[in-house]
Symmetry: C2
Subunit: 257 residues, 2 copies
DNA sequence: CTTGATAGTTTTATAATATAAAACTACGTT
DNA sequence: AACGTAGTTTTATATTATAAAACTATCAAG
């Protein structure tokens, strides 16, 4: 695949920032990317001119620009699933007091596109715009469990099962077995596999063609996940998932295979 | 300012998309930017490799990638004003039934970073991630009215007062007079200046240093803006604005000048 | 106050890359 | 089957991105 080195370098600059690294000096940027400082300077000024990078007037440090937010919301802002699901997440959060999420698959990761905080915010990991591994999260499992064998093979080729907690699945065999359980039950669970002390129940969302393109999940502190709670919550989340899918045009009665 | 042509070109590709143009063919992209199709192809493939552009497998058309959403939320996700204001927007919307917005200044435009729909969604213009002119909107006026004369001069140098509706202010003199009224009242109004049939009340939000860095607004259909409604709503929105500013560390009592 | 180190910005020669012409593949229409 | 258009690939070379060098600015140490 053809690659333009200077564009590649500019976009790598954008990749340097994260939740904890919100600003960087030019010397740090050139050091991390092994670039000459005048090259880094030119790249930064081009990004800045377009609004993708901003420079703090007082400290001279660089940070991500708001143009990313503007353009980013164009991607997600017109997704039907987001506006339709929103109401349901709000309702479920009010009914249960727990945190709800909406996630879509992007490549071989989930991406949080909505989140409704519960009354006591205990979920730390999730954040709109953040990515989440498919093997260690309820939403990740729900997103890929119903893919065709060919699609699943493509997604999992070369996939690395990084350990997130002591309970994370770390090999493909166990992961495939778990996906089988997801298909049987119709929902996914992650018991502290992604975030210690947090358990999530996730339901796939289908589009008008019956394909799973999103998932919703409810997250809670593990001690709250009693058998009784599971029996109460799963039907509620499933019901919300079905309504969201139907509002997206999914017609389950036509699914004869 | 040094500019790297190929990075500039790549970012211009990202600018081609908008709310109505969500996908484009490679020939259209090369035509619009007056680029050779093989140049466009190389640029697109580099953007795609980083996730900033996606290609539809069935149609071959290009669209903005989710990496923009991810990076964009890094910019805004850690802004205190957003999480603090959120609660107040929700409360005001529940109390009044109207749509509330949170906007920050980015260059010489406002940028919507949060929105809470009222019970009857009548505001069409605003959308999270969208930009809004400062001269024709309540939030825009609120954002710039309290700038120092030097800052205001810098913002307005070369500024073009595009007509948005029949009621838009279209020259600097009238705009500066209007900003004076905003300073006197402590809030801004746009009477159908930005969107026909919609009136907005906006309040500036100050940070811990007393600088206006954001604004909130309540929007309603113009017929609902009776004198009685104004008398009722302005104090509520002002109160919310003051609490949000205080929660951001603003201390009004220290403002002796 | 001077000196030295480091960071950031600018200049410019040239090595390296981006560019676009040409060629190729694929698809749809006539 | 032929033609036109879209999309992708190849490759020669014109053009640009690159980085060395120089400059400016700031800060800390002596």
């Amino acid at each position: 695949m053809p690659l333009i080195q200077s564009v590649d370098r500019a976009l790598r600059i954008l990749d340097l920032f994260d939740e904890y690294t919100t600003e960087l000096k030019i010397t740090e940027i050139s050091r991390r990317l092994d670039l000459n400082k005048s090259t880094a300077h030119s790249l930064l000024k081009t990004l800045q001119q377009h609004g993708y990078i901003d420079q703090d007037h007082e400290t001279g440090k660089y940070k991500l620009g708001l143009k990313l937010f503007e353009r980013g919301n164009l991607v997600v802002g017109h997704l039907d699933v987001r506006s339709i699901a929103r109401q349901h997440l709000l309702e479920l959060s009010m009914q249960t007091g727990y945190t709800l999420h909406l996630v879509i698959l992007d490549g071989r990761e989930g991406l949080y596109i909505d989140k409704v905080e519960g009354s006591s915010a205990t979920v730390v990991y999730s954040r709109i715009g953040r990515r989440i591994p498919i093997h260690s999260s309820g939403v990740g499992k729900a997103l890929v469990a119903f893919k065709s064998p060919a699609e699943l093979r493509q997604i999992l080729e070369g996939y690395v099962y990084h350990r997130q907690t002591e309970k994370t699945i770390t090999n493909e065999q166990d992961f495939l077995k778990e996906l089988e359980r997801v298909r049987e039950r119709g929902y996914a669970i992650d018991h502290e596999e992604n975030e210690p002390g947090i358990t999530c129940i996730a339901i796939p969302i289908r589009n008008h063609m019956g394909e799973v393109t999103a998932a919703i999940s409810l997250s809670m502190p593990t001690p709250n996940m009693t058998p009784g709670a599971l029996e109460t919550l799963v039907p509620k989340i499933k019901a919300a998932g079905e309504v969201i899918s139907q509002q997206l045009g999914y017609q389950p009665a036509l699914r004869t295979y």
